[in-house]
């Protein structure tokens, strides 16, 4: 199956990516116009007070000195404190990452559950009514803005039918999953649309492949053909797509989290960028880099499991 060398090689590849992200984030936040104190201190702060706070935070030092100091602290696992809410970045990320991860996981699961059967129906009934309807529906899903889907779902299913809470994040796990059903579905719509289209064309390709003809000629049951040969082969390209899509979805989570009032990292990132909260932007970028790297690793491993040639 999977060979250890491949896994280790992939893990090692993550290290330079990390260092790159570390440097780039540090520089980019400092290249943004505006500074943390102007952004958060408001109109009433005098220039002397800004200068005093800058000195306290070490922001009056040359960028190189700040960078060395930053690296030294990161090496000891200290991401610093938020300039805005003044609590350690680790604890902020610890509070805000789980809702986003749960939301993304639920959205991915929903997207797969939606996309796989529909892709099959669509591919097997190619160019017939069912195919047209499914493709049309997903076209609509793909072209609607995420915030709009969210608001429509909220208005219909939460406010009018009252089946779901209007946003928020519950107090215990079952409650949280219940709270996140609508937002996860909102995110899943566009993800499912892309997955479905990709999977559908992959299935169509595979159905036309010679080995499927051979399997049919052997007299295998259609169920076995579809499960063992068609799905497995069609999934290889789709799984490769899943990694980058989950990365993109974390971006979509920003809007969804705002509409549904979910205290996730998407909103934290936006707030931190607006507030030029350097330590939070840096810490959060690193945390997200870890998450995305792990997802890419997982999809690579999954792909390697489906198709051993990948690991070669």
């Amino acid at each position: 199956m999977l060979n250890a060398g491949f896994v280790i090689r992939r893990l090692l590849q993550v290290i330079p990516t990390f260092i790159f992200i570390l440097v780039v984030t540090f520089l980019i936040v400092r290249l943004l116009p505006g500074d943390p104190l102007s952004a958060t201190a408001g109109d009433r702060v005098t220039d002397a007070q800004v200068a005093q706070s800058k000195a306290e935070l070490g922001l009056d030092q040359p960028v190189l000195v700040q960078f060395v100091d930053f690296l030294r602290r990161v090496a000891t696992g200290d991401l610093g404190r938020s300039y805005v809410v003044r609590i350690p970045v680790w604890s902020l990320i610890g509070q805000r990452l789980p809702p986003t991860l749960l939301l993304s996981a639920m959205a991915t699961a929903m997207a797969i559950l939606l996309a796989v059967p529909l892709a099959f129906v669509s591919a097997l009934r190619r160019d017939r009514a069912a195919d047209m309807v499914i493709r049309g529906a997903f076209q609509v899903g793909l072209s609607m803005p995420v915030f709009y889907i969210g608001l429509v779902l909220l208005t219909v299913f939460s406010a009018q039918l009252q089946w779901f809470p209007v946003g928020g994040y519950g107090d215990n796990w079952p409650d949280r999953i219940y709270h996140l059903l609508l937002p996860a579905f909102t995110l899943a719509v566009s993800l499912a649309a892309v997955l479905m289209r990709n999977l559908r064309s992959a299935i169509v390709d595979v159905l036309n492949a010679e080995y499927v003809d051979f399997a049919r000629a052997k007299g295998l049951m259609p169920r076995v053909i579809l499960g063992r040969h068609v799905l497995r082969n069609a999934l290889i390209s789709t799984v490769a797509l899943l990694g980058p899509m989950v990365g993109t979805m974390l971006g979509g989570a920003v809007i969804t989290e705002s509409v549904f009032a979910i205290p996730g990292v998407g909103r934290l990132m936006i707030d931190s960028i607006y507030g030029r909260d350097y330590p939070v932007i840096q810490g959060l970028t690193m945390a997200l880099a870890v998450v995305v790297s792990l997802i890419f690793l997982a999809t690579d491993l999954l792909q390697a499991a489906l198709d051993p040639r990948v690991a070669k």
Binding site: A39, V84, R96, A261, R276
Partner: protein, 533 residues
């Protein structure tokens, strides 16, 4: 003799009326029921709950529920009433304030509030190194403990605003021992730890706080103020603040009953919510003013000449702006034109009607006199995506076109805008202001007194206004002080702003939520709030 009789009669009548009013307020139709947790939707979370080192409205508007000050603002935000001090007096020379501390008052951890705590808290608040609010109590030279129940503030100079300053959040009384026991070497470090687990003597105390998501307050069992039923306030067991940045979602949550109330209702939704008989759409009077902020330096940052340095041009722009139209378009009619640079609710405000009633001909004339008959163009910074700001700027763009002025709208994010504003690298931006103290000195210090922040970073400097402000800061004769402020407001007519409108605080509540109050200074007061069962 006759006058004495008249005086006595009048006094008796007044006393009778106020007694009747007191009786009415003390004995409502039914006693307010106790218990329950109110769920309140906020557009943004608080950032830092230390009363001295905070600097944002999202903090200020919550602090008064956690901390108590020696004096409290009245419900109309204009006067003072007893707080942790039951009596106060100003010496005849205006240089000493004597305060009698409340008997038996305790912090929320059950420890007594001592004169030492009061002295320590006020000393911390007035330290110029501590935060941006120290100027409010800058006149205090020393805080002396006369006896365990009496504290005297010795002033460096007479300060007509000092009594009101003792109602402002930054003079809240904190337990010295608890604060000093926090980890950290500096006051700022200790404040960080204390701000996460604050101990005060307000009606509520912090139970839990998940930043950016929710904050739960529970009733302070040691709160000193009594309710209508003779038992200590508050009526509620607790308040849960939920942070919901999206306006539409916040309103949906009130409509679906998941929230009991929500702040920051967009003005466009006010009419619709007023029509909903399950809801109570409140527009609380405020001190909030919305205006255009101009750079009036002769040269702009890029070295080009600045037409806005001409007083006549600024007057022309003010006369050409149709405030009623902006109020109709942007606030959906919720608002009134500014009649001074300070709100009508700010003490010593002078003015009636619109400060600059629309008069395009006069504006054209002024442009001609200023030598800009052919007009000019300049740009206004707005926060990208902010519907209100873009709406105002677009309306002004159209209103100024007839006098030859081309307004370019430059959309940037808030951090960029603030830093350019601070650097004086702008022509115009839109500004908002809310008073924190029931005195005109705060707004005037920032708007018209150049040493503070160059009159809102505009570069406007008027020596007479500066001098009048300095005088007014020590003026004990109310009549003279009123005159000084009247003159400053007159001088500011040619100042660095486009006066737009005043607008209330829109809060929507479920019908069964009673007794909630947002005072004109913005503070949310939950101590008398209850849920009608």
């Amino acid at each position: 003799m006759k006058s004495i009789v008249r005086f006595a009669a009048a006094t008796t009548l007044m006393a009778g009326i106020s007694l009747a009013a007191m009786a009415a307020s003390l004995a409502p139709a039914a006693a307010a029921p106790r218990g329950g947790t109110l769920v309140y939707g906020r557009y943004a979370d608080s950032l830092f709950l230390d009363p001295v080192l905070n600097d944002a409205n999202v903090d200020i508007w919550i602090l008064s529920n956690l901390y108590d000050t020696l004096l409290l603002p009245t419900d109309d935000g204009k006067d003072v009433q007893p707080g942790l001090a039951t009596a106060w007096s100003l010496s005849p020379d205006g240089k000493a304030v004597t305060l009698t501390l409340r008997e038996g008052a305790k912090f929320s951890d059950g420890s007594p509030i001592t004169a030492d705590d009061v002295k320590w808290s006020l000393d911390r608040a007035r330290d110029p190194k501590n935060g941006i609010w120290s100027f409010l109590v800058a006149s205090v030279g020393s805080v002396d403990i006369k006896d365990p129940k009496t504290v005297v503030l010795n002033l460096k100079n007479p300060d007509p605003a000092i009594i009101h300053a003792l109602t402002v959040f930054n003079t809240a009384i904190l337990p010295e021992k608890v604060f000093e026991a926090q980890p950290g070497a500096t006051d700022a470090d200790k404040a960080k730890a204390f701000g996460e687990h604050p101990v005060g003597s307000g009606a509520f105390m912090l139970q839990s706080w998940s930043h950016g998501s929710e904050m739960t307050l529970v009733k302070n069992p040691y709160y000193w103020r009594m309710g209508d039923d003779g038992k200590p306030l508050p009526y509620l067991d607790g308040i849960k603040f939920e942070v919901i940045p999206d306006d539409a979602t916040r309103i949906l949550k009130v409509q679906s009953g998941e929230l009991d109330a929500s702040e920051f209702v967009p003005f466009s939704r006010v009419e619709e919510l007023k029509a909903d008989d399950k809801l109570n759409m409140e527009l609380f009077p405020s001190t909030k003013v919305t205006y255009g902020n101009l750079n009036v330096r002769p040269k702009l940052k890029n070295g080009s000449d600045n037409p806005l340095s001409s007083e006549k041009v600024r007057l022309a722009l003010n006369y050409a702006a149709d405030k009623d139209a902006i109020i109709a378009i942007v606030t959906h009619g919720v608002g009134t034109p500014m009649s001074s640079f300070m709100s009508a609710a700010t003490p010593l405000h002078v003015g009636q009607g619109t400060w600059f009633p629309v008069d395009v001909d006069k504006a054209k004339e002024l442009m001609k006199e200023a030598g800009f008959e052919k007009g000019f163009s300049f740009s206004c910074l707005v926060i990208a995506g902010n519907v209100d700001e873009i709406g105002i700027a677009t309306a002004l763009q159209q209103m100024w076109a007839p006098i030859g002025v081309t307004l370019n709208i430059e959309q940037v994010d808030n951090a960029t805008l603030e830093s350019r504003y601070r650097d004086g690298d702008f022509s115009m931006r839109l500004g908002y202001w809310t008073d924190d103290i029931a005195d005109p000195n705060e707004i005037t210090s920032y708007f018209a007194y150049s040493p503070t922040i160059e009159s809102q970073h505009s570069g406007w400097k008027n020596e007479e206004a500066d001098k009048l402000f300095e005088q007014s800061q020590q003026e004990l004769d109310p009549k003279k002080r009123a005159d000084e402020y009247a003159r400053i407001q007159e001088l500011y007519k040619s100042g660095p702003i486009i006066a737009l409108y005043e607008a209330p605080y829109p809060v929507v509540l479920k019908k069964d939520v009673k007794g909630f109050l947002q005072i004109p200074l913005g503070n949310n007061i939950f101590s008398g709030t209850y849920i009608q069962k």
